[in-house]
């Protein structure tokens, strides 16, 4: 009996000790978090006073953006205030810009995927490319992946002039970096026996890449590239903020000039088209993978 109660007592003490320890770590963690938050708030000028002054203005701004639609006149013509047609009065121009944005994203994804594919072979460890080629391609992919596309766009606008070309190249360069790493990783996971077969029967390194590695990795590569297209569509819709083409330029203009209702109209169009393309691209992706695999 005594031994049991002593055991229970020991266990109880151990439990209390553990609980105390956990409580101390929690308190220390929370203190560090609070300190970081205070510091961050100070650096980013997130003061209660500025917040209190800002919040009402945010409400006011979003109230102004919302269109003043009226039920009775909802489907009236372009000239009636309060109708859908009045809200989207420049739908034709915006649709064209949206189409341009989608084309920019498609071209950029294509270009980026081609560059990524070429660099992925030396960047995959299992292809046994020379060390300098491996390092060079890996470092290049890393660098282009880390620098945001807007920064590339800012630089390319100087080099290639204002317009869609700068945006396409900027998005392409950034996606080459992101896709290249994914491509190389997908290739590293491929079964290596076909590769050995091609090499053993006298195939060159390029032939082994083409006939042993590429067919096995292709479904993965395709699905990554199509996912990237969806991401690039979002980037293409804002890259115009720095003058690199697409619907972003128009959006920047209407926000800067405070054309309130047009802002909500364009944003709604962007959301809708991104959603539709996402859905369509998901379908297409599944079918393409089934067809290839």
């Amino acid at each position: 009996m005594n031994a049991v109660s002593a055991g229970v007592g020991r266990q109880d003490a151990a439990f209390r000790e553990l609980r105390r320890q956990r409580r101390t770590t929690t308190v220390i963690g929370l203190t560090i978090l609070a300190a970081c938050l205070l510091l961050a708030a100070r650096i980013s000028e997130f003061y209660p006073s500025s917040l209190a002054a800002g919040v009402p203005r945010i409400g006011e701004y979003f109230a102004r953006i919302t269109p003043s639609l009226e039920w009775a006149k909802l489907f009236a013509g372009v000239d009636t205030e309060g109708s859908l047609a009045f809200w989207f009065y420049r739908l034709d121009a915006w649709a064209l810009l949206l189409f341009e944005t989608a084309q920019m994203a498609a071209l950029a994804t294509l270009l980026g995927a081609v560059v990524a594919l070429l660099l992925a072979f030396p960047a995959a460890k299992n292809t046994g490319a020379p060390a300098w080629a491996y390092q060079l391609s890996r470092r290049f992919l890393e660098a282009t992946r880390t620098v945001p596309e807007i920064v590339f766009a800012l630089i390319f606008v100087w080099a290639f002039g204002v317009g869609a070309l700068a945006g396409i190249l900027a998005i392409a360069l950034h996606s080459a970096g992101a896709l290249g790493k994914l491509f190389a990783d997908a290739m590293e996971n491929v079964e290596m026996r076909p590769w050995d077969g091609v090499r053993a029967s006298g195939g060159s390194w390029f032939e082994a890449c083409r006939f042993a590695l590429l067919p096995a990795a292709l479904p993965d590569l395709l699905s990554y590239a199509m996912l990237r297209f969806e991401i690039n569509l979002r980037s293409a819709s804002v890259i115009g903020f720095v003058g690199a083409g697409g619907i972003g330029e128009e959006l920047y203009k209407v926000i800067s000039f405070n054309y309130y209702e047009e802002i909500s109209a364009i944003i709604l169009l962007v959301i809708l088209s991104v959603m539709v393309i996402d859905l369509a691209s998901e379908r297409l992706r599944r079918r393409a993978i089934e067809a290839v695999a």
Binding site: C36, L37, L39, A40, A41, R42, I43, S44, E45, F46, S50, A53, G54, R57, I58, E60, Y61, F62, I65, E100, Q103, M104, A106, L107, L110, T146, V147, P148, I150, V151, L154, I155, F156, W158, A159, F160, G161, G163, A164, L165, I168, L169, R234, S235, S237, V238, F241, V242, G245, L251, Y252, I255, S256, N258, I263, I267, V270, I271, V274, M275
Partner: protein, 276 residues
Amino acid sequence: MTPVEIASWQARMPRAFGPTPRGRALRVLGGVAFLTWLIGTLWWFDVSPQRMWNGLNGLLVITRLMIPPSPGEQWVEILHGLAESVAMAFLGTFIAALIAVPLGFMGANNVVTNTLFRFSLRRVFDGFRGVDQLIWALAYVRAVGLGPLAGVLAIATADIAVLAKLYAEAIENAEKKQAEGIAAAGGSPTLVMRFGILPQVAPVMLGHALYFFESNTRSATILGVVGAGGIGLQIAERIRVRHWDEVAFIIILMVLMVAAIDWLSGKLRRRLIGAR
């Protein structure tokens, strides 16, 4: 095999004998359509070899001017910009993660059983997700003025919806037994959430929040381009006045900072999740 036999087999399974005429025609057609699209869009975007050549030359000149990178005379300003970017990302992610917790509970089907409410809430999340952070930043700059406050708000708004969706999924995937045990022992719904579900999903939530902190550090570096504070403003300004060596220096610092935050956050994430 006689030629007659071969012909009969070819009639029976044509695809075993190489591409059929129809397949070949389809492939050629696809190739032609692709080329037409490519040439058409390139022509539309006014991409000519001449223009590419000039642009690449310009790029070469810019790259040559970037070497060697130099901090210029405004060290303090650059460091302040970097700190501002990290602070914006940290605060924005924290606010978003905090607001997303109750929203996540509301969006989870094992907590809220009202399907219509849940469905519409999820669609609202989707809509918010479609708007890019830069668009929010631009709108907030018009609403609360230039500066990092707009950036914090933009990061928070853009992330609330995504985090709430991830949280809702985590809550739906949580083990039911603990929650049922607390309900069976007479716990109120609030107690069920606090002691039955939250301990299970808290590590997942923290992990997601840390991931978002990492990705927000990257995006906080560019929000300044539209005037929402952080290092982006410095880059945009220096590009405008063509101080390319300083641009290169800031880009290098940016990359280093992002790598440092990734490393720190990865370490923290492993500790927080691994400890449980």
